[in-house]
Symmetry: C2
Subunit: 198 residues, 2 copies
């Protein structure tokens, strides 16, 4: 499975494509950072990021897109720009019918380093090691994009199994309720009462 990881941002947007192999083996297909000038119009910046992401989707043909889920704990202005870029990226993927999953920074850190509180250097170090890269990806946004893709490759099978189990449980509950309702109706019909059944 091939995943495009995106660390959304207006100033720097990290893009990383990772292939997942047997077990937990992963390999880096491409990594880069899209930059847009801070003095450009917001809509022009979004358009530039969107065009680059669409180029990557067309060139590398990933089967899923993993985007960092933003929280508003930081600078409001930056967070809004980041959310807007995330929205634009999700849109490009949806246009191609690709699944988009948002992962929180701590999910990504935990998946890659084993700790949800790892710092940037630890994440970059583990990404470099896991992907057997000759040099550390730089800037941090590039490493984060690769980490997102790895996180998605490793978490997705579990996430899919959980979703399947939940769907099965909901279906069983639905059938059980239907049987109960049928039994209630049958009971009422059998005794000839008509007032209580609905």
């Amino acid at each position: 499975m091939r995943v495009l990881g995106v660390d959304p941002g207006l100033t720097r947007c990290g893009l990383g494509v990772v292939d997942g192999g047997i077990g937990r083996s992963v390999s880096c297909v491409a990594v880069d950072v899209v930059r847009t000038p801070a003095d450009a119009e917001l809509s022009a910046r979004l358009l530039h990021v969107s065009e680059c992401v669409e180029e990557w989707l067309d060139s590398y043909r990933p089967q899923a897109v993993a985007v960092e889920r933003v929280f508003s704990q930081h600078n409001v202005r930056t967070v809004m720009g980041t959310a807007q870029v995330g929205g634009v990226v999700a849109l490009s993927a949806a246009r191609r019918g690709l699944p988009v999953v948002f992962h929180t920074p701590s999910e990504v850190k935990a998946a890659v380093t084993g700790s949800g509180r790892a710092d940037k250097a630890q994440v970059t170090g583990m990404v470099t090691k896991l992907l057997k890269l000759a040099a550390k990806p730089s800037p941090a946004d590039a490493a984060d994009a690769l980490a997102l893709a790895i996180c998605h490759l490793w978490r997705e099978p579990m996430r899919a199994r959980v979703a399947e189990a939940e769907a099965r449980a909901a279906e069983l509950a639905r059938k059980h309720k239907a049987r109960l309702a049928a039994a209630t109706r049958a009971g009422h019909t059998g005794t000839g009462t008509t007032g209580g059944g609905r």
Copy 2:
């Protein structure tokens, strides 16, 4: 001039097209609210809103798009979705080469009612009156979208004049600096010194 106002949101996204006439006269061309189901995938919801906005841009051919600028004072989850929709709308406009301007809620309220602290009912009342509508636009998101378009029509000429004045001032400052630099160089050349000039 025709403006599309957008009150961004995932659950309800208000769209309003307003024509500006002579002086401050305004007329309503179209107004509606796009809804997406809360249980759908985020990317599918963004795609639906994006497709509706693109349809409106193609049908009504506005010359500018005015979007509400979001602040993160409210529920984080809602604000992120709102910012993502705003980004997607700005992208659709940028794809068509249309200018996109973000207005804050208080700018919109001040433009339409005269007070930046007006409540929803006052905004809806003034929008209904200004556009001579037979009935109040409902829900509030529809009225807000129309208010955004009116705000843009009335603020834009002033904003453009300010931007022009600032550009002229910057150009004068640039010329002044260039003249100063030329005079400094001439001074150095004239006296035969070579060490100080750069």
